[in-house]
Symmetry: C2
Subunit: 201 residues, 2 copies
Amino acid sequence: MRHDSVGRPRSSSRGILEDAALELFIEQGYAATTIEHITQRAGVGRTTFFNYFESKSDLLWLEVDAGIDRVIEELKMVPQGVPVIAALREVLLVVAAEFGVDRVPLAFTQGELIGSEAEATASGLTRFARRADSLAGFLAPRLADTQGELVVLAAANALAGAVSAAWEVWARDGIARRPLTEYVADAVDLVITGLGHSLEQ
Amino acid sequence: MRHDSVGRPRSSSRGILEDAALELFIEQGYAATTIEHITQRAGVGRTTFFNYFESKSDLLWLEVDAGIDRVIEELKMVPQGVPVIAALREVLLVVAAEFGVDRVPLAFTQGELIGSEAEATASGLTRFARRADSLAGFLAPRLADTQGELVVLAAANALAGAVSAAWEVWARDGIARRPLTEYVADAVDLVITGLGHSLEQ
DNA sequence: GCTATTGTTGGACTCAGTTCATTATTACGC
DNA sequence: GCGTAATAATGAACTGAGTCCAACAATAGC
């Protein structure tokens, strides 16, 4: 069988587990649903769950994880010598354009059902970290000549924060939401052009 | 209530637990230390631990938590009408100045000992979230007239990301570290003046 | 068909974190 | 001092996530 980039098996069990989990989350909420429930409904053994997901909360962030994967892919293809920030912005927008209303993360749409707010926050932040890491990995070699570690990390964190805010507001805007691209553009440009410039004077 | 060896009463076990935990983390690492170990060494019942801390990982972030508390306090005292971003920057620098080399979070100094990298990341990100929330709480009422939710959240997240990067690099710089204020100033200014301005052309 | 690879499984385990009713300690009014 | 109300400490029993591992099943390639 084939494996994806994270090294996890890819077969039909994954989709079955996702479907079972979604049903149960809607029926009884996230907190009340145990991994055992999910695997029982999916008709597989409990251990199998951990072949496909690292934790229960992974199920809430499938789309965000996919988005981050795509950003990493696209960043790999950016040629050297291109203006760094502009290229990064472009990649973030291109990937955002791939996410329509059918790809809103469960974490946001089922927010009320989750119950354990802390766990949702913590698991969401794991995505923030991965996003920040991916951006730092892109920036570091391209800025190392001129900038120190602090600048690279601060820039990566700030951009990751902006993109996270974009996803969150987009998801929360419900049926009235505009395309994700617009949210990401606004948030990222705020950081790129500067808070001082945009908000004050 | 417990008494120490001299027989003097102690109003709370919190300090004892912190000390016991620090010892054990250094002796055997974070992952290998259970809450039961900590409470045993502290001479206290296991349940008592949860009277003082929400989770084991809280012990890694005591100083960061204190810093966020201080920022929240200071932000409360900022008068209305003051330039928002400038005031915020000032508060972040003032609080950073309170943290000397004796207040480096265990999360960073004992990083190698922690073992469970994922848990350290996740617990650290909980602090990021609280920091972002505190900044958003400050910005929201002051920008609501002119700015939407996205701008407020993106700005808060970006600044929180920058400050987190500052703490991290400061902590990692080891014995050669300069004052935390300098790191925070650089990181925050990067976001305030804009990545485009600072990093490109 | 044979075999190496990859996927699935259950069982036993550790430990964080929760709940709750009970008991110790302290603070305080008198 | 004495009694009492508030607060802190405690143990016991529980839930459930996540890990480890050895056995077993399915499959692809040959």
